[in-house]
Symmetry: C2
Subunit: 159 residues, 2 copies
C-alpha cells in the first residue's frame, strides 16, 4: 500500500477566506461518491474515530438538506446545512453550520475526479464570510477530524 498517495492536504488561502482539502482514494469514483451521498455509508466514516453519528435528515440531492448529531463521551455536536447542488459522480455543493456557532455558515464544494486505475481524487473548497471565521475553524482541530474521517473512509472502501 502506497500511503503517500493517501495524504490529506489542508491549505488556507493567504488572499481569501477559504480552505482547500485534497485527498486521493484507492477506489473508483462511483464508490467514493456514493459514500458521500448515502446516509448509511456517511455515518460510517464522517468525522474522527470514537464518535457516534445520528442522522435526522440526509437528502443528498439538489435542493435537499441534512441535519445530524455527533456524540462522544464529552457531549453532543449538532450540524446542519442544505445541498445546493448534487451532480452525480462529479460535484456536491452544500452549506454547513455547527450549531455551537449558530451565526457561522460556510459553503463547501467537493469535486470528484476519476484518476483511472480505479482511483479517485476529491477536492474540497470551503469558503467563509471572513478570514477570522476561517482561522477560527482551522484552529478548532477540524484538520484532525478530516484526516481521521478519510482514514475511516479508506477502510470502508476497502471493505
Amino acid at each position: 500500500m502506497n500511503t503517500t498517495t493517501r495524504e490529506t492536504t489542508i491549505a488556507a488561502d493567504p488572499n481569501a477566506p477559504t480552505i482547500t482539502i485534497t485527498r486521493e482514494f484507492d477506489a473508483p469514483r462511483e464508490r467514493v461518491f456514493r459514500a458521500h451521498v448515502e446516509p448509511d455509508l456517511v455515518r460510517r466514516w464522517l468525522g474522527p474515530r470514537g464518535l457516534e453519528m445520528d442522522i435526522d435528515r440526509f437528502d443528498c440531492e439538489t435542493g435537499g438538506a441534512y441535519r445530524y448529531t455527533h456524540r462522544d463521551e464529552n457531549g453532543e455536536y449538532r450540524f446542519y446545512g442544505s445541498f445546493h447542488e448534487v451532480r452525480p459522480n462529479e460535484r456536491i455543493v452544500q452549506t454547513f453550520t455547527f450549531e455551537g456557532f449558530p451565526d457561522g455558515v460556510s459553503l463547501e464544494t467537493v469535486t470528484f475526479t476519476d484518476l483511472g486505475d480505479g482511483r479517485t481524487r476529491i477536492e474540497g473548497l470551503s469558503f467563509y464570510d471572513s478570514v477570522e471565521t476561517r482561522d477560527l475553524v482551522l484552529s478548532s482541530g477540524m484538520d484532525h477530524g478530516v484526516r481521521e474521517g478519510y482514514e475511516r473512509l479508506d477502510e470502508l472502501l476497502a471493505g
Copy 2:
C-alpha cells in the same frame, strides 16, 4: 417622503470576496420579511422592472430550496439555490446560482432589523469563492436589478 432613507448601498469589501447591500424600508419588519418569504409576493418585486418571474419552487424555510425563471423580451434567465436557514423576521441564509454560469455559487445572508416607527433595515452579505467571481458579478449590472427591485418592493409595501 424622505427618499434619502431609501438609498440602496452596494459595497465591495477590498479585503474579501464579498458584497454588502443595505436598504431601509418604510414598513414594519414582519411585512418586509413576509415579502421575502411568500412566493406570491416575491414575484412582484424581485429583480428589475419589465421581467416576468415564473417560480418552479420557493420553499423559504430552513432546509428548503427555490428555482425560478426571469423572462424578458431578450430571453430567459434561470436561478436556483437552497435555503440554509430561515429565522422568522430575523435572518435568511441562502445559496444562489445563475444557470448561465453553472459552476458559480454564492452564499447570501440577509438580516432584518426593526428600526422602530414602523421602519426596517435589511442588510445583505453575499460571499464568493474569489475576488474575480465577485467582481464579475458586480460588473454584470446586478446593482441596477437590486436597486430597481427594492423600488418595486417599496411600491408593494405601500400598496
